[in-house]
Subunit: 467 residues, 2 copies
Amino acid sequence: MRNRIAMRILIIGGGASGSTAAQFARKTDRKAEVILVSNENYPFYSRCGLPYALSGRVPSFEGLVEYSQSWFRQFKIDVHLGTEASSLDTVNRTVKLRSLADGKEENVPYDALILATGATPWMPPMEGAYVQPGKLREGVHFLRTIPDGKAIAAMLKKGAKAVVVGAGLIGMETAEALTEMGIDVSIVDILPDMLLASLDEDMAAAAREIVAKRNIPMFFRSKAVKVTGDAAAKGVVIENSETKEQQELPCDIAVISTGNRANIALAVAAGCELGVTKHIRVNARCETSVPGIFAVGDCTEYVDFVTGAPVPVGMGTVATRQGRTAGINAAGGRSEMPRGILGTRVTEAFGMKMAAVGPGEAQLKKAGIEPLVGKFSGSTLPSYFPGGEALMVKVLAHPESGKLLGAQIVGTARVHQRINAFAAAIMAGMGLEDFARLETAYAPPIAPTLDPITLACDVALMRLRRK
Amino acid sequence: MRNRIAMRILIIGGGASGSTAAQFARKTDRKAEVILVSNENYPFYSRCGLPYALSGRVPSFEGLVEYSQSWFRQFKIDVHLGTEASSLDTVNRTVKLRSLADGKEENVPYDALILATGATPWMPPMEGAYVQPGKLREGVHFLRTIPDGKAIAAMLKKGAKAVVVGAGLIGMETAEALTEMGIDVSIVDILPDMLLASLDEDMAAAAREIVAKRNIPMFFRSKAVKVTGDAAAKGVVIENSETKEQQELPCDIAVISTGNRANIALAVAAGCELGVTKHIRVNARCETSVPGIFAVGDCTEYVDFVTGAPVPVGMGTVATRQGRTAGINAAGGRSEMPRGILGTRVTEAFGMKMAAVGPGEAQLKKAGIEPLVGKFSGSTLPSYFPGGEALMVKVLAHPESGKLLGAQIVGTARVHQRINAFAAAIMAGMGLEDFARLETAYAPPIAPTLDPITLACDVALMRLRRK
C-alpha cells in the first residue's frame, strides 16, 4: 500500500447506490480520497427513468444523468468510467481495475471498499433470443442501461410491433412508453396477472381492469418460449401454461423485463457471505461479512421490515438510502438503515396508478402471519364533488395486535402519496385503531372527510373486534 | 317522561357532526329512537363545499346535501328541519323544540342528548354592516349556509366587484370562487398575511407569493372598518393598522369570513362547563360535564394532540370523527377520540396548495416548546423529469427527543396527501430519525428518490445533532 495520510474509499459501481455512497463519503470526510469506478460510459443516471427517455417524456437519454462528470469533479470524487473491477485482494486491500476501452490494468489500494455492482437483466430460457453467447438477436432488448434504451429507440418506426415479456413495474412502464411512441405493444407474463411481485392478486386484478380499458393485448399465464426470425426477430412464440397451446406474436422489438440477477462475482471472490436469495448479505450499516467491505443496492439483500425475511433490495428507494449509509460509515461516520425494508413501491401506466408498502398476503402467510384484511373502495373526492375517481385500498394488519403490516392502493388518481402515510404508520408500529382515527387531509376539491385509507382500516378493525 | 322501551337519542344540530352522530347512534343501537333537529331547512350538507357551489364546480347548492331526507328515513332517523331547541330541562331530560315556521312548541324527552349546535359567523366591529340588528346591509354576506350562498350567487353579475374580509381557509376559497365567476375580488385581513391561523409566517409568505402571481389585490394589516352605501353596500373602508391610513375599496359584494362564534346558549342553560376558549368542554368520549349530554363539532373545544392546550374544534375532519364517537357512546357503545386534535388542514386557491398538521411555531412556543425547525425546498419530481413543481416543506420537532410535532407544506401540486404521512407520524410519536429514513413513494413521473418530506427532517436532524 502506498504511503498516504487521507483514507481511500473505493466504490465499484456508478448507479444510484454507488454514486450516493460516493457523495456521502465525501460529505462525511472532506479529506478522504473517494474513487468511483463504473463499467458504464455514463456517470450516474436514473435507470428508472429509461422508459421515460424512450417515450420522450424525458427529452433525451443523456437527460437522465443525475450527477454529471462535473458534479463529481466539484465534489472531488475521482470517477473512472468504462472500467471494471476484475479481481481483488482483501489481504492487501487492493482491487485490480481494467479499462474496457484499452484493457489496461491497474492495482488500486483501498481502506474501505463499497460494492455497488448492481444486477444484470435475466433472460428466461427462450430459444433464439441470442445469436451467439452474449449477443442478443437484432430486435431483442433489455432496458437496463442508456445504450439499451438507445438501441430500442433506434428500432422505433411507424407501424412497428413490440412484445414486452414481463408485466412487472419496468415491463408495464416500458409497454406504456412504447405505446406512447405509436408502437403496437403486447404484454406477456408467465404469472396469472400483472404486477404480482408488487400487489396481491385481488389488487393486481383491479390494476389490470384499468389497463384493459386501453385495449392493450395482454397474455398472462403465458411463457415466452421462442424468438422467431433470421437476422432480426420476427415474433415471439408464447405458450399458455395451462393449455400448453402456443401462438406467435409477430414483432419487430421484444423487450425482456423478467427481472435481474445480482452481480456478485467480485463479492464472492472477496469471500463476502451471500444470503438465501443469492445476493450479498449486509447489515444495517451496509457491512458485508468481510471487514472493510460494504455493499449496497441491487447486488445486496436485506431483511423485510415486517417479517424479518431476507429480501433482495432491488429498489432505487432503498439503494439510495443504503448508499448514504455505506458512504457515511465507510468514511468513518455513523449511519444505520432502519431495521428492515418497507418495500414502498409505486408506478403508473396506461392510466392505472398503484402504490404499495410492506409484504403482501402471501409473504405474510409464508412468515406465519394470517393477516387481518380490510378493503375499501371509495372515491378520491367527497361524493357531491364532481371529478372524484375510484380508489381501492387494502390494508393488512396483525391478527392479534392490529398493527399495520402492509397496504396496497390502486386507482386512477391521487394514489401514490397516500401510501406514504401507511409507510410511516408501519415504520412507527401504528395500529389499526389509531390509523382509523387519523385526521387525514380533507377539503371538498381535495379528499373526502373520511378518507378511503382510514375506512379500509375501519373494515379491518371490525374484523379484529369480531374475533 | 312517557313510557318507552327503546332509548331516545336527541341530537340538536344537523351539520356534519350532528348528522354523523345520528348515523352512528343508529348503527350502534338499531332499536333506539334517533331524533335529529336542525334550525336549517336543508338536511346535512357540506358547509366546506359552499365556495364550490358558488363557483359552479359543484353544480348546485342542493348538490351539497350529503345525507338527504330519504337517506335519514332509510336509517330511521327522525329529522326535524326548521326547528330550534329553545330551552331544556336536564332534570327531567326534556328539550323544548320550536318550529321556526309556525312557532309551535313541543317538549321532547331524551335519554341521551347530543349538542351539535355549531357556530355562527362573527362580524367584526364594522360600521354599516347591518341596517338593523340582525339584518345585514344588502351586499354584505357571510358564507355559512346554503341560503347565504344563494344570496351571494344572486348578486353575481358581470363587472361586479367584491371584497372578501378574512384571508383564512374559507376566505381564500370564497375569493377564488368569486374570481372564477368573473368578479373582481380584493382580499382584506387584519393580520400581516394570509392563512396565519393555519401556517407559520414563513410558510404563509410562500403561499402568498404563489397567490400573488394571479394579481389579486390583497390588503394585509388592514382592518375593515366600515361598509359604505345606502340601501346596498357600495364599498368597504379599510384602515392600515400601522399607518392608520384609510381607503375605500368599491364593491357590490362584501363577504365576511372572519371566523365564527360557538353556539353555546343551550349548553350554558344545561349547565355544561365551558372551556377557556368559550366553547363546550368535552372529553375523549365527547361527554360534557352534564351526565347524559354529549357535544360535538364547532360548538366544542378539545385539546391539541401535541401541546395538550385546549383548542376550538372548528374543522369538519374532527367534527365528523366526534360525531361518530358521540353517536356510538350515546347509543351505549364505546368509542373514544384520540387523545387530542392533530389539526390536519388543507386548502387550495389561486393555484396555491397548502397542507399542515400539528401546532405551528407560535403555538409550540406558547406551550413552552422551542421547536427544532427543518425546512426544505425541493421539487415534486426528480430533477431530470420535466414538469416538477416547487414544494416547500417545514417540519417542527421536539428539541430533545426529536419527535415530530408539526409539519407544513406549500406548493402548487402534490401537496395535500403528503401531509397525511406527517399526521400518522405525529400520532404515532415518530421521531425525525425514523422519518428521515422513511421509504417514500418513488418513481420518475411520481416523486423524487429522496422526498422533500424526508429531506426537511434531515435538515432538522442536523440541527438536533449539533446541539
